[in-house]
Symmetry: C2
Subunit: 208 residues, 2 copies
């Protein structure tokens, strides 16, 4: 059912992607609410008015960036949470996955961290909606685990949120250590592992 796009639509999507890429690069050193429309078109190498063919406003572009940054991440999270193995190796694998993702998509991660509480309401809401989805998916995976026996729904969702928030905090720490020596990156890894370990311990004794 994947129809090959016409020359026209293909070109449009190409320039649209160029807008997204240019904006993401510019947003490494500023927030969305200060990103100018002309600034983006200049970076793409196109007339200012061309912007309107793709986005209503920079806020609109921001929402598109949220989808690009988080939309394709859901399957990854699902499989990571559900992978079998001892708790210690699961923790190591999750942290490894975060570290790798920050390495390969630093600008996307920075954008999400920055605009989650940023100055543009529609973007904040888009991010919040995605994070709620993540939490629900994590909760669904947690519910399958044998350790979830006896847990009520509210407690499961609470734990899922805790995990999601913790992942964001860890990602942000890796981001800060991106250009730091390997030593500091290792310290971030250790800290994150310890925190996940403590949560795991709390989870294990929750029903006492």
């Amino acid at each position: 059912m994947s129809h090959t796009l016409g020359i026209r639509q293909a070109q449009k999507q190409k320039t649209r992607q160029a807008f997204l890429d240019a904006a993401l690069a510019l947003l490494e050193e500023q927030s969305l609410s200060s990103l100018g429309l002309r600034e983006v078109t200049r970076a793409v190498g196109v007339a200012p008015t061309a912007f309107y063919r793709h986005f209503r406003s920079t806020a609109d572009l921001g929402v598109a960036l949220v989808d690009e940054a988080l939309g394709s991440l859901h399957p990854m999270v699902r499989t990571t949470v559900s992978t079998a193995g001892g708790s210690e190796e699961r923790i190591a694998r999750a942290i490894e996955l975060i570290a790798r993702h920050v390495d390969t998509h630093p600008a996307h991660v920075r954008f999400i961290a920055r605009e989650r509480h940023g100055g543009v309401q529609p973007v904040r809401e888009a991010i919040r909606a995605q994070l709620v989805r993540f939490a629900e998916e994590v909760k669904a995976e947690l519910a399958k685990d044998s350790e979830a026996a006896g847990w009520n729904d509210d407690d499961l969702l609470m734990l899922a949120h805790l995990y999601v928030d913790q992942m964001l905090i860890t990602a942000s720490l890796f981001l800060e250590a991106l250009e730091a020596p390997a030593e500091q990156r290792e310290r971030v890894t250790q800290l994150a592992a310890r925190q996940l370990r403590l949560i795991t311990v709390g989870r294990r004794h929750w029903l006492d």
Copy 2:
């Protein structure tokens, strides 16, 4: 040793405070990196050039706002963490304190949450430095607790960071629920309590 300021210095501090207040109000709906110098002076009702008498740039103003927002909060945190009582009442008291602070200083809290990962580097660093201080202070209080026996320094600091991050997350949730019905605010309280409870459980069984 508190010397009464001369008329001149008093007036200067007064306008400086007017700058801070006006900026904080403007920052409710945008981020610092898009805050214009003229925008602030217009809100204060003063000539644009007057700005330079108080701040080098808007980034400089932002750093001053960080100190105003977090500087006076340290004693509060210290006493809150160290207050005696059962763990359940301590949790309730901490959450109550956060809720009250968000109610009385919403703009300050929003500013910190927004600029913690925002687009202005000096401000990010100022916030980070303050949060590190908070974590160290919390760690020092935790170390006094009888439950900390056998804990090493790294683990204590890890737990302290967990608490500090959790406080920020909770504050941010209260902020989102500021104008929401009491029902939702109660749900935030319950969620935060549950999460702190799980951390407490993990803490209690850490040395197993």
